[in-house]
């Protein structure tokens, strides 16, 4: 089966809502039909062909976008399978509410990347904005499954209200990483901003680089939890980068946030 390569004609005047443009939705369509798929542009619905040229490609049912998509929001929104590659930056909500499949953003991603993600994998080769792997405004549960990998840096509130899945940042993260976290795993390769794990109930936040400032509402753990650590570290090591050597490193843990449930842990690799 062939896939499709969509090349940006020029940057749109307004932000474009890309929900509905998914590999599964264009199966069996011709390039002319794909160009007729409507996407939101401001308050109007506009054919996709206004923004992209669509060409068949031999990349196995994948959608490949070429160009600067930083004004294109909700790329891969509610995607359940297949593969989307953005050869450039993507806008806000990239991979939001994803349930499966693979989304790769070769550039930066905007705000709320992988928010409320439930499955699949989103890889951002560049930086991710604030609220990545977090929750939609007003919603109770954040990321609840799948894998988010940010090869660059991430903004504030990374993993807010996260409850399952794995979210890794190879670089630095902003303030309030893992705020209100319910469960799941967050890994940080670089430095973290202020207030790590603010109000976290459960879950694991792994710091492989600099030791963050840890609030008084966390208590140092007396035991290493080696079995658990080996299980987790071996899994994270698959993703390489700053996580590759984790199984060989000892850790110290800080348990909290005691202002909440207090069963979360900040794991600092030594």
């Amino acid at each position: 089966m062939s896939g499709w390569r969509l090349t940006l004609r020029q940057a749109p005047a307004l932000r474009v809502d890309m929900r509905g443009v998914l590999p599964a939705a264009v199966v069996g369509l011709s390039s002319a039909q794909i160009e007729q798929v409507r996407v939101g542009h401001g308050n109007a619905l506009v054919p996709l062909g206004e923004f992209f040229t669509v060409k068949a490609d031999d990349n196995d049912d994948a959608l490949v976008f070429e160009g600067d998509l930083s004004r294109f929001d909700r790329v891969g929104w509610q995607m359940t399978g297949g593969r989307i590659t953005v050869n450039g930056p993507a806008g806000h909500y990239a991979g939001g509410c994803m349930g499966g499949g693979e989304l790769q953003v070769k550039g930066h991603a905007g705000l709320l990347a992988a928010c409320e993600m439930a499955g699949g994998q989103l890889t951002v080769e560049g930086d991710a904005g604030d609220f990545a792997a977090s929750t939609l405004p007003g919603s109770v549960d954040g990321m609840r499954g799948g894998t988010l990998i940010v090869k660059g840096n991430a903004g504030a509130r990374f993993g807010d209200r996260m409850r399952r899945g794995t979210a890794l940042v190879f670089g630095n993260v902003g303030d309030f990483v893992a705020s209100r976290m319910v469960a799941g795993t967050i890994g940080i390769g670089g430095q973290a901003g202020a207030h790590v794990g603010y109000g976290m109930r459960r879950g694991s936040v792994v710091f492989t680089g600099a030791t963050p400032d840890i609030a008084m509402t966390f208590v140092p753990a007396l035991v290493e939890a080696r079995v658990f650590w080996q299980l987790l570290a071996r899994d994270l090591a698959r993703h390489g980068g700053p996580f590759a050597q984790l199984p060989a490193r000892a850790v110290e843990r800080h348990l909290g946030d005691l202002a909440s449930d207090g069963r979360g842990e900040l794991i600092v690799a030594r």
Binding site: R164, A183, E224, A225, R226, V227, F228, Q230, L231, D235
Partner: protein, 304 residues
């Protein structure tokens, strides 16, 4: 059929379908993994009264286990998935959870899931934490030496129980030597356990009894003390001690391979070593669907 002076009966072992699971028990060092495994597989010789048949399959080095510590793989067999689930929960709860530094993992991935740490987690009294790592859920239960980590479930597979060999020997010394050699050869194989003490059972049974309440009783035809007394005896003045080895395996091929390895070990010792005859226990072939013909096993083994 005579091999190295050993008569091979034209008979077969009759085996039954069972349900099994494999557990990986790891610990700070092999000693404590073995302590847990020995305890968890204790009192598990026969499903008749133990609820399951269990044994240590083999020891695992640190690079073979999920958590990078030394471990032991254990096989547990039962007559039904429900009974197996009950036995796994009791045995892991009482013998592995309690044993210093241990952790418990599923050793089989494919099959119907039964609880491993799923119910044991309540021992944590609310302090237990679930962790999903690469799609697998584990439970972390705080205990006095740190935490007990157990995978949530383990998988149940269909398997074969009740493969057996009867080793008719000259006397007690040679019978022990022959059966020890046979068990050692079988233990080198994967996917099988010999659930009786040291792998050997001396109280082989026949179906039925003169007592209405008993479904099985001593195999009088093979009892040397009943030579000349029992109406029908397999004992001769030369064969005065008989040992049986019972084998449970994950597949029919595994049980067959273990029986072949056991026979070959016995035949290697030969009549000079005191082994005079090899037979097998069956019920006429009507009860169990798996038949292991001794001569066919040896013939097939010779061609490979």
């Amino acid at each position: 059929m005579i091999e190295n002076g050993v008569a091979i009966d034209d008979s077969f072992a009759e085996a039954f379908p069972m349900k099994a699971t494999r557990l990986i028990i790891t610990a700070h060092n092999l000693t404590w993994a073995l302590n847990a495994a020995v305890s968890a597989t204790g009192f598990a010789t026969s499903v008749i009264a133990c609820g399951c048949e269990a044994g240590i399959e083999r020891e695992l080095s640190a690079d073979e286990t999920p958590d990078g510590r030394p471990g032991v793989s254990v096989l547990i067999f039962s007559m039904s998935g429900k009974e197996l689930a009950k036995q796994v929960e009791r045995r892991v709860g009482q013998c592995v959870l309690t044993c210093p530094t241990t952790a418990a993992f599923a050793g089989i991935a494919e099959g119907e899931a039964i609880a491993l740490g799923k119910n044991l987690r309540f021992f944590g009294d609310g302090w237990q934490i679930s962790k999903v790592i690469n799609g697998v859920r584990y439970w972390r239960i705080p205990v006095m030496d740190g935490e007990f980590v157990a995978q949530e479930t383990t998988a149940v597979v269909k398997c074969v129980g009740g493969g057996n060999l009867l080793l008719l020997c000259r006397d007690t010394d040679t019978a022990l030597a022959v059966s020890e050699a046979a068990v050692a050869a079988m233990k080198a194989l994967p996917n099988v356990i010999m659930p009786f003490p040291g792998g050997v059972v001396r109280s082989g049974s026949k179906v039925g009894s003169k007592y209405a309440t008993l479904s099985a009783s001593t195999n009088d035809a093979f009892c040397p003390s009943l030579y000349g007394l029992a109406a029908k005896s397999e004992i001769t003045p030369e064969t005065r001690c008989v040992m049986e080895i019972v084998i449970d395996g994950l597949t029919e091929a595994d049980v067959g391979a273990a029986m072949l390895a056991g026979m070959r070990a016995g035949i290697a010792l030969g009549s000079a070593g005191g082994l005079l005859r090899i037979s097998a226990g069956n019920y006429g072939g009507k009860l169990g669907p798996f038949h292991f013909h001794l001569r066919k096993l040896l013939a097939a083994g010779a061609s490979t």
